[in-house]
Subunit: 428 residues, 3 copies
């Protein structure tokens, strides 16, 4: 009685692209300048498929850390919106990424979050791949099978400061810019000499864009994060600080920079508020900046005191906070003694899977050098506050009564920037 | 490879309307006169979207009671098929309804089922609204923002006998007819001098129309409600009572009306069976009638005896049962000493959320004047019996083997009336 | 803003057919010869609807056993992808199948998995049907209602060796071929003199075709079923056995056939590996064959020893294993002392409901003649191993990185045969 074509398509998002139909084009044109996104952007299955194709299957995704897989055969896995991905260190020491799917019948190859293998053996029929992805053996196949084209399907991977980035795109955008900027800014932090003290996964009942919009402003911090704002000056956007606050900010920046002799960036954010990011006009999808901490805060901890040994090249606690971000799925805050790296992965139009990694120096020992009860609460609390906000916002934007409101030009410039960056990707 | 347009649309039901496509028109034409509705009516997502647009977002919905929010700043919330609604009493004493969504970024504003506020402060960025919905403050927004058009989006609301009705439509149908009829019939019951002794929510695994169809006939009562039918004569539709039963009915009506001196309607339903409702031919979507109770029943309780103090203007127990209904979501049974009001809200094509409110006189005290163990079972049991019936019917109409059968012209005239009323709405 | 037609349709798969749209035709043409099925085949809602129409609502489905309902009024129920089906023995001793749905308002009639009735009385309005499906009474309906056309909607049913098959098709394919073959091969097993010692239901998080593909090869048995392969020679496909193994197989076949004097087939599978099935070229959708057990195995048990009394006509344990299968939903392994019959029913594109029945001789008594701890583990373990494999394969084929790989011509000839059989059905 009717065509199921669109449903068919909707369940089969092509890996490379998702067409802009008239209805989708109409939706993409609906955003009113200076305002939030309309309702359907946070609910629509077809738009979600387009986002997967244009952003999540196209961009560079932070996946994990090279130091998690130090030896040949060490591996990590992750799930990118239903597509299993494998990261493995090869016999040559290189980190590679593959589709975590056997080339025979498509079974998911590695099931654990992490582990070590001599070779990659599919649990179904024992097809065996080298740590570099070549098909080594497929006993039971007929004579004359050519193993050469049956290696694991490779994905582009890059390692920068120990961060492993992966792209599901056949020809992803250049990575060099991110590498240059992250290495310049991040070197002193010693990310590649760190280890994970703790990682926590969170399921957020909200569209992934709501999570980014929440991240891109501190307008909500006064009510939403009473603990967080004690450590920094994020809430004082440009021109908002009183003379007294302004003096405190300047003093904190001067204090931080006075100690600075380790390379990388100094505190460089004098105008206040969050650094501008992303920047759709110049197609900037990564950024770093260093902010000063308020007096009394040596690190981002609830009490303000240090919660582990110094990381990287730091020889003094007063280094402020190094912040780094990349679209579509990474942000981090790195203090003198620890760093909290947060990874985003979508899991449907109304579900987002977050994971935060608490990094400390590789030689720091739990109990002696750090205590999880002191290390975790600052960001675990802030995370949970944000995820609850996002879930209530999802309930609201699901309403037929929701109309996108105006964004504050003073305090939500980055929400606007995010929305414009996003629209540029999905419209392209 | 195909168009996702329809899926896109399906996830974005427009607030005002949902188009009748050829496939939907074909479906709407399928009903065979005198028979039930075809299978797709109880399953189809597109038809459900049309129902939301034409019935649930258009009609007058019973939402709650004015006496639940006696003071300025008292509020109630409810969820109309995914759209959060707020009811709040203003400083002028008026009850108003709003979309329960902040005008800034769309966050759900009030989260509790009920509460009290000095002002409505959005938990996200502290946008602050008066109890009349005006935007009072939006600190952090840029200069020159005009607060006037950014008040909460109002919904039409009416209060009648303490019942709060709300409509999500821009221009709902006239409410005056319901008000006139309900006030005439319901005044003696003292609804506006009542309070809620208990409210119970139920999730029914069935399409909302199955729940109404179940409600609109007592053909199922002999097997389905052995307790319920002891108290009344509902099962004797016109011409069905034996001479002995007929004499009992007449005696009960006479007994009830003999005592009648409080105004409102007397028992007026001599022909037997359920009162005709709804009436699509005259577009009647509300009704009231009073039925006599069987001998031995002073009220609708399992044992027949009174379960609380007399309500309203009643000075004698023998007042029968006042029944009131309005499409698409209210029915009630009011005895001399309590009333049970039931509210329906859809929650998907196969899920309906019901809530029953047990009302007693506002001065009745639990333990002294009433006991929940005696007050609740009659309707709680009847409710659960009905919800189970509806869930098994849903399983059956989901079958490819289901064909709508004939409706009894003697006992299911109201099921037919409901279906014709329903089709008139969704076809319009 | 767009047409919901396809969604409407998708929620209302017609009982008889589901159209091949251009998108569906394109998908059905995608399979590359000698390779697995593309991704969308394991996920797509429209294709699933087509499969229901062309396979599950068209073919002969194994439903249950005649010996479960020995007396008039005994019944069984099952759920075929959301369509409730009733099997009942009539007063004439015949087993009949009906849509398990009342002809009045469509309520599911019988709710229990099995039971006994004098007459079939709908719990909603007491419409009463005979055990042969005629409508006997519908008290409360109006004058002049004709009960004749309102009997339960019959389904085609056949009983063969005690197996009840049902078809939801108006005119199903001929059943005679299956009957002839199954009776010839299965008579000695005494299926119709058996009883169910235990039945276990399993929910498998995988498309039903993955479960069949898994069943149709023993390529995975070495790693997947270390217990199973001790009892048989399944893993030695044609030409794969070493001379020593070959000698063991020949000896086992000879040993089995030497004892053979009970009729039916002897062990007849000398070439090794699984019997060819299904056969799309000759439209063969059922098959039987007998395989020899390895030395030390009198039956398919973990320890190899007998786990119950001999079944049927067997007078010696050394009868090997009778295997029978029919598309789309039955396979079984029958040893001398028990049989394990497995039934498949789809429950969505990514969910399959399996049920295994452990049969023993009708006179075998638990505790005396058999012990569930010895009877169940062989196949319960093998089942659970397979279901886990299928679930991990579903995760893999859901990936945008999945590409169908080559099938082994030596070991996966039946996977290819299944896929070709399947495509023939859904393309037809």
């Amino acid at each position: 009685m009717a065509t199921p074509d669109s449903l068919l398509a909707s369940n089969s998002p092509p890996a490379g692209d998702w067409p802009i139909t008239p209805a989708l084009a109409a939706l993409l044109a609906q955003r009113r300048e200076g305002h939030g996104l309309p309702r359907a952007f946070y609910r629509d299955e077809a738009l979600y498929a387009r986002e997967l194709a244009r952003i999540w299957h196209a961009g560079w995704l932070f996946a994990g850390f090279a130091f998690e897989i130090p030896d040949a055969g060490d591996f990590l896995t992750l799930d990118v919106a239903g597509t299993p991905v494998l990261l493995i260190r090869g016999d040559d020491g290189a980190v590679r990424a593959f589709h975590n799917v056997c080339r025979h019948r498509g079974t998911q190859l590695c099931r654990a979050d992490s582990g070590h293998v001599r070779a990659l053996v599919c649990p179904y029929h024992s097809w065996t791949y080298s740590r570099q992805g070549e098909l080594l053996a497929c006993h039971g196949m007929h004579e004359g099978i050519d193993k050469t084209p049956l290696g694991l399907r490779p994905l582009h991977a890059e390692v920068c400061l120990g961060f492993i980035y992966v792209s599901l795109a056949p020809s992803p955008a250049a990575f060099a810019g991110l590498r240059e900027r992250f290495e310049a800014a991040g070197q002193p932090q010693g990310f590649d000499r760190a280890r994970i003290a703790k990682a926590i996964e969170y399921d957020v009942d909200a569209n992934w864009k709501l999570v980014w919009e929440n991240n891109r402003e501190c307008y909500h911090c006064i009510t939403g994060h009473p603990q967080y704002i004690r450590s920094n000056f994020d809430i004082y956007d440009e021109g908002e600080a009183s003379p007294e606050i302004r003096a405190r900010i300047d003093a904190a920046i001067a204090r931080t920079n006075r100690q600075w002799d380790v390379g990388g960036d100094g505190a460089d954010h004098p105008k206040g508020g969050l650094a501008t990011f992303p920047d759709p006009d110049s197609d900037l999808w990564y950024t770093c900046n260093r902010t000063a901490l308020a007096e009394g805060f040596a690190t981002e901890s609830l009490a303000g005191g240090r919660v582990s040994t110094l990381m990287g090249d730091y020889r003094d606690a007063d280094v402020g906070v190094l912040r780094m971000r990349s679209m579509p799925n990474l942000w981090l805050h790195a203090s003198c003694d620890h760093a909290v790296v947060t990874r985003m992965l979508p899991a449907g139009p109304r579900r987002t899977r977050m994971k935060s990694f608490w990094l400390v120096d590789r030689f720091a020992r739990e109990g002696a050098d750090y205590d999880l009860d002191a290390l975790l609460p600052f960001w675990h609390l802030t995370n949970e506050q944000d995820w609850e906000i996002c879930a209530w916002q999802q309930k609201g934007v699901d309403s037929i009564g929701y109309e996108p409101g105006p964004l504050s030009r003073r305090k939500e410039y980055n929400v606007d920037a995010f929305i414009r960056w996003y629209l540029k990707q999905v419209r392209a």
